[in-house]
């Protein structure tokens, strides 16, 4: 059994959060991959960790899942220290890393059985658990070699393997990267179901804005090893404004900003290259005054659009850059 003493210790520590970090830091030589991150993920929450490639998301996950030791700060999962109580932490976490950790020379059932055995499950429990996980799995393919699986099937098997021992916290590192849209939607549905039906705490990293927006109760935006914004997707987007008018200009964008800041009802104007982003409570009402003001000032407008804010706007607001093109494309549909 998962040691009672460890559970008791976990309950009695001040770190009762499902995942908690204080000043978590990881360096590789001179390179700082994670630079003092504070997290407080509540039990039963889906926490989305959003950031571009190389932001430090996977390094954080590797530290929280005991694969990598922090070089600074502290981290607890389920109240257990990931360094001092690493072995106990492994009993309470399920992990599906960025690369589906599957041996193509095994069948799906063999992978699940091996995983179960390593967590001390007996044959009957393994069989029961596979039945319980049937909604995730492609049961018809369970006795086929993984090499015959599609990307989506392999990812779901990876997810099932992570759940074999019934963990309380599930770490998913970019669970839908490389999947086609239908497979992505199916993984999303499973993530929601796991959280809803099993009360699992999910720590989900993603570079897809839409994924964080759709799945996460709260989102932490990470860039260059630091959390630059955190909150519910709604909170983060509301901080930008109810609506966003985006203007792409030919010429001096700063001059455009100066012009637009004087318009009534405009909450904020930011310039990113040749793009001027205008936050406002009522976008449709602001659209005409924006166009007229720019035209009167002799500023040529190449594009003018109105939309609701996305997490990309939040990212742009706090970092000054967009997430990469692929993720932006995904996210702009919201």
């Amino acid at each position: 059994m998962f040691p009672f003493a460890a559970r008791l210790a976990a309950m009695s520590t001040p770190h009762a959060a499902a995942v908690k970090t204080e000043g978590l830091r990881r360096t590789f030589g001179d390179f700082t991959a994670v630079d003092g991150i504070d997290l407080d993920v509540r039990p039963g929450e889906i926490y989305g960790f959003l950031g571009p490639n190389g932001a430090g998301k996977s390094t954080v996950v590797r530290m929280l899942t005991t694969l990598l030791e922090p070089t600074g700060g502290s981290a607890w999962v389920g109240g257990l220290d990931v360094v001092a109580q690493a072995d106990d932490v492994r009993f309470s976490i399920g992990v599906a890393l960025q690369e589906a950790g599957l041996d193509e020379n095994m069948t799906g059932r063999e992978i699940l059985a091996t995983q179960g055995r390593l967590f001390g499950l007996n044959r009957a429990e393994i069989a029961d658990r596979i039945e319980q996980l049937a909604p995730i799995l492609e049961m018809r393919a369970l006795d086929q070699l993984v090499s015959s699986y599609s990307g989506g099937m392999a990812r779901r098997l990876d997810l099932a393997a992570a759940l074999m021992h019934n963990p309380s916290v599930l770490f998913l590192d970019e669970p839908t990267t490389g999947l086609d849209p239908p497979s992505r939607l199916r993984v999303w549905e499973e993530v929601r179901r796991l959280n809803r039906e099993f009360g699992l705490t999910l720590f989900l990293t993603t570079q897809y804005l839409e994924e964080a927006d759709e799945l996460a109760d709260r989102v932490g935006i990470i860039n260059a090893g630091r959390i630059v914004a955190e909150g519910t997707p709604g909170e983060l987007k509301r901080a930008i404004g109810t609506d966003v008018v985006t203007v792409v200009v030919d010429g001096d964008a700063d001059a455009a900003k100066a012009v637009l800041e004087g318009i009534a009802g405009i909450e904020g104007v930011d310039v990113f290259g040749d793009e001027v982003r205008v936050g406002t409570e009522n976008g449709s009402r602001a659209l005409s005054p924006v166009a007229i003001a720019l035209g009167s000032a002799g500023i040529k407008v190449r594009e003018l659009s109105l939309r609701t804010p996305t997490l990309d706007d939040v990212f742009l607001d706090v970092t000054g850059t967009h997430l990469d093109a692929g993720s932006s494309a995904e996210g702009s549909s919201t």
Partner: protein, 268 residues
């Protein structure tokens, strides 16, 4: 949370296991994979059979002028066994585990880290025993006979298998240190000096110069001596030297592999 969810969370509870349980679990998985890896097993079996046939066919007449005390077929059978068992390892499969992320999956479980290595080695032991069987059958077919009887045959196979197991420390150390399949494959080159700078073709007293000196320090010389002694009778001294040479090599190579394992599994 639904009733189904509650049931699921209360029914399944992970438990602590032990080193032996973990080793058996890893070994089961590795052994199950063996028959699926024909591309690996085919050439591994071909090499000793090929050398046994070719060496006997090409050298038996020339060796007639040397007093071997046994037939040349019997003289060559231990060489074929050493070829069959040396460097035969699942280290390549372990590298694939590292590359495809399965090793990381195992590392997020509470599995004993040493069991990750030993479990693969148990599979290696099974494999080298299995590979020894067709080589022995060919040897018998060519006329090799053991005066020590079936027990001698069993000891012959076990000494060969122990040697093979001892040697596996080298490819595992390379696999764990580099995570590179090319490096593991090229580790077979290390075996050449062991295999040829020894009494593979002639007895020690017929070797001269530097080759004689090198063969004196080559543990394979003593393994071959011990194996060959079993054709004639029970010779405790020869068998003791064979076991000692095997254990000395194993102590060295397994230390290397354990150090590499510690480096690979350390979260630092």
């Amino acid at each position: 949370m639904t009733a189904a969810g509650t049931t699921a969370r209360t029914e399944i509870r992970p438990r602590r296991t032990g080193f032996v349980h973990d080793t058996v679990s890893i070994a089961r998985r590795a052994i199950r994979q063996l028959p699926r890896d024909i591309a690996f097993i085919g050439p591994t079996l071909f090499i000793p059979l090929f050398f046994l046939v070719i060496n006997v066919a090409s050298l038996s007449e020339a060796a007639a002028f040397v007093d071997l005390g046994i037939t040349y077929e019997e003289f060559q059978l231990p060489v074929a066994i050493v070829f069959a068992v040396t460097g035969v390892t699942r280290a390549g499969a372990m590298v694939l585990d590292i590359q495809n992320g399965y090793f990381d999956r195992l590392m997020t479980t509470p599995v004993s880290r040493r069991a990750l290595l030993l479990g693969h080695m148990v599979a290696d032991f099974v494999l080298v025993i299995a590979l020894s069987v067709p080589v022995m059958i060919l040897g018998f077919f060519m006329g090799a006979r053991f005066d020590t009887g079936p027990l001698g045959v069993l000891v012959f196979i076990l000494i060969g298998a122990l040697w093979g197991l001892g040697y596996t420390g080298i490819p595992y150390a390379i696999a764990l240190k580099t995570g590179n399949p090319g490096a593991v494959n090229s580790s077979f080159i290390i075996f050449f000096p062991f295999a040829f700078l020894t009494t593979a073709y002639l007895p020690a007293e017929n070797l001269s110069g530097w080759l004689s000196t090198v063969s004196t320090y080559n543990p394979v010389t003593y393994v071959l001596g011990g194996l060959r002694s079993l054709f004639i009778g029970w010779d405790a001294a020869e068998l003791g030297k064979a076991l000692l040479a095997t254990l000395a090599l194993a102590a060295f190579t397994q230390t290397l592999s354990l150090l590499a394992l510690r480096g690979r599994t350390s979260p630092k």
